[in-house]
Symmetry: C2
Subunit: 198 residues, 2 copies
């Protein structure tokens, strides 16, 4: 009677976002319907504009508005270091540290066979191609120290053992199971500095 398919649809879409539960989704939906229409539609437009203009970099798999992305094409970045991360937001987080000047590669997923993410889900061909092109001295596996992260680090280290590469990983000063995104800048910078051979 009060709710409509459109309202339910909006709640469902909000609920599908990470960290948004059903009650929060309902609150957000009521909020959007309570404020002036043009204000509410600004969010819709912002989503469209951002989603339509972003694509995946063909070189490093980072989200970007230009392809290849500015991190890949910048002459100021150091080719001798290649940093492998799980997700787009990890690049963002590491960049906000303002310390690393090398290149990146976004895996997209960690190894998690139980969830259906085997080696094929990891963008390995792109990583091998990137290593081939850059011939970096160091490969930094900036993956989170969880079961999936450890498995991925182990897998990549085995896979690349015949390459002339100094493979390192971040210091496990990070809390186990925690996401890069939510750690403080100092903790992250510290972990980055103390990376050790994998």
């Amino acid at each position: 009677m009060l709710k409509s398919p459109r309202f339910d649809e909006l709640v469902a879409k909000f609920s599908s976002l990470p960290g948004i539960g059903r009650k929060t989704a309902q609150r957000l939906a009521w909020h959007l319907l309570s404020i002036p229409k043009e204000k509410a539609l600004e969010l819709s437009t912002a989503i469209q504009n951002a989603v339509q203009s972003y694509t995946t970099c063909s070189t490093c798999c980072m989200l970007t508005e230009v392809n290849p992305c500015t991190l890949c094409t910048s002459p100021e970045r150091d080719d001798s270091q290649l940093c492998v991360v799980e997700s787009h937001s990890d690049v963002f987080t590491l960049e906000s540290m303002n310390e690393y000047r090398g290149r990146y590669y976004v895996l997209g997923h960690l190894l998690s066979p139980l969830d259906g993410y085997g080696p094929d889900a990891l963008g390995i061909p792109g990583l091998l191609k990137r290593i081939e092109e850059l011939q970096p001295e160091e490969l930094i596996l900036a993956l989170k120290p969880s079961a999936e992260g450890e498995a991925t680090i182990h897998y990549l280290t085995e896979l690349l053992q015949d390459h002339e590469l100094n493979i390192t990983r971040l210091s496990v000063g990070l809390p186990f199971g925690g996401d890069l995104e939510y750690s403080g800048t100092l903790t992250l910078a510290n972990a980055f500095k103390r990376r050790f051979p994998a």
Copy 2:
């Protein structure tokens, strides 16, 4: 370099929602850019569809897809009870209790002079008109027991003292300062049953 005005705009719009901080807004933005475009655009479309189709009921000020709303036009609702609430979501919450069968009136705001919400912000003319039309026996002030709620209850009780009305308020079994929306169904039903003269 990594962020763009479009990304910042999306984060800003998410941050403007209630309960969404800057870190969460960034996480939501990254999430939307990481999933398939058509999935991300579904949220944008859901917002548009809901926002475009909802309007404010000219009788009770509730959000509705038809005007007047089905709560006002339903012959099954009891005209002898009129329930006054602060916001649209409060109607939704009270309805989910599945106990009250009377009519509603949405004030839109509580009295809060320091925040710029004086008696003029409260939709009083619409409430007086609704009382005139329905001639209810009981006026239930289902407002939250906070400083603003108490002030509004006091104001309305004074204003309506010459009307032939049994003015009641919800039991203060609700935690002081809490929102209707986040209380358990039993607590709410209990508070509704034990309403007492204001």
